[in-house]
Subunit: 210 residues, 2 copies
């Protein structure tokens, strides 16, 4: 299926592309130049046919009888995901979790940089020193607009989550990584990814009962 020229790639496939990218990175670190769909799929925890189907959505990069060139495939997936260039991100809500996320060094490696954080009490004393500036929530709209920030991490209390999202969207944010345990109402063209740790635990709890 296609829409405006580009094929429509399933959400799940996009998710797996990210996983493949990480596996490829590790292969490259180990100096491995070529990999078969079988081997890469195993590393990613999927079936090899699924890996090939996933790649087929946006091109054909392999060599039959040999496999895929690790560097080339990395680049192609990176390009498709749009993580080739560094993306600015803001974080809103600097509580326990927000502070931990600001300290987390895993984003930069993947092409994202938290350039600022916002909180209702930016000067409240925190037990940890961090590199990014913490600004008042009132400064958020201007900052986001000025720096053309398109993505935000939301770690505010549930009570203010919806109003915070409204403000972010008004300022131009299109994608939100939401840690507040609430279903946010957003326009169709805005995307929300929810991370709810309690739900993940509940999920585990169910399936290990059998």
């Amino acid at each position: 299926m296609k829409r405006n020229g580009r094929p429509i790639i399933p959400k799940k496939t996009i998710y797996r592309l990210s996983i493949y990218l990480r596996c490829l990175a590790r292969l490259r670190e180990n100096g491995i130049g070529t990999v078969s769909s079988e081997a890469l799929a195993k590393a990613a925890g999927v079936k090899s046919t699924q890996l090939r189907k996933d790649l087929a959505y946006f091109g054909t990069f392999g060599t039959r009888g040999l496999g895929y060139d690790v560097s080339e495939l990395s680049q192609k997936i990176s390009g498709e995901l749009g993580t080739a260039q560094l993306q600015p991100v803001v974080l809103v809500g600097v509580g326990h979790l927000g502070l931990a996320l600001l300290s987390y060094r895993g984003f930069e490696k993947e092409g994202f940089e938290i350039i600022a954080a916002f909180d209702t009490e930016p000067n409240r004393k925190r037990e940890k020193k961090i590199a990014q500036p913490i600004l008042g929530i009132r400064e958020m709209p201007a900052f986001v607009a000025e720096h053309a920030v398109k993505m935000a991490i939301l770690s505010v209390p549930v009570a203010v989550a919806q109003e915070t999202v409204n403000a972010l969207i008004k300022s131009g944010v299109m994608g939100i990584l939401n840690f507040a345990p609430i279903v946010l109402a957003v326009p169709e063209d805005v995307m929300v990814n929810n991370v709810n740790l309690a739900i993940e635990l509940e999920n585990l709890s169910y399936f290990i009962q059998g």
Copy 2:
């Protein structure tokens, strides 16, 4: 479809049951005693037919023409998910993220209690005081076995993630909430839920370009 007497409920349905449970909790807080599938579905961000199908997997609880009793439905879903009683959980890896998770007060409300944390350097000075004991990683096997812990949160560095999981499983852990950006190899009867923040951001990044 059924297996050993119980119907097989899709993973996605289980996930949504957790969401319904949260929506119901909020309704109850607001003193609302009855809710229609239409209203609850809207609050949960799904279609009403889907909500009814989800519930139909394990029973029929509604009253036609009226809707569902909020308290009763909460109990039924809780019972199905197995979150009726408090579940002990351990956390392994007390770095930035682990520390934040230990401070997170959202688990208890949902029926989970982090009863202890483990780290290779339990006495390393940390900038935050927390309630749970931090023990050496060597004490983990005995502790987990003794307290019959079935679930663990894994926030260790990638390099030691697999060996840590092996040890946890050996001690009797059946469910793992994994924050390490790596695909863990586990036996069939052990369940892993991965939380990978970089992937979530990458995902957003892709869809807001479209």
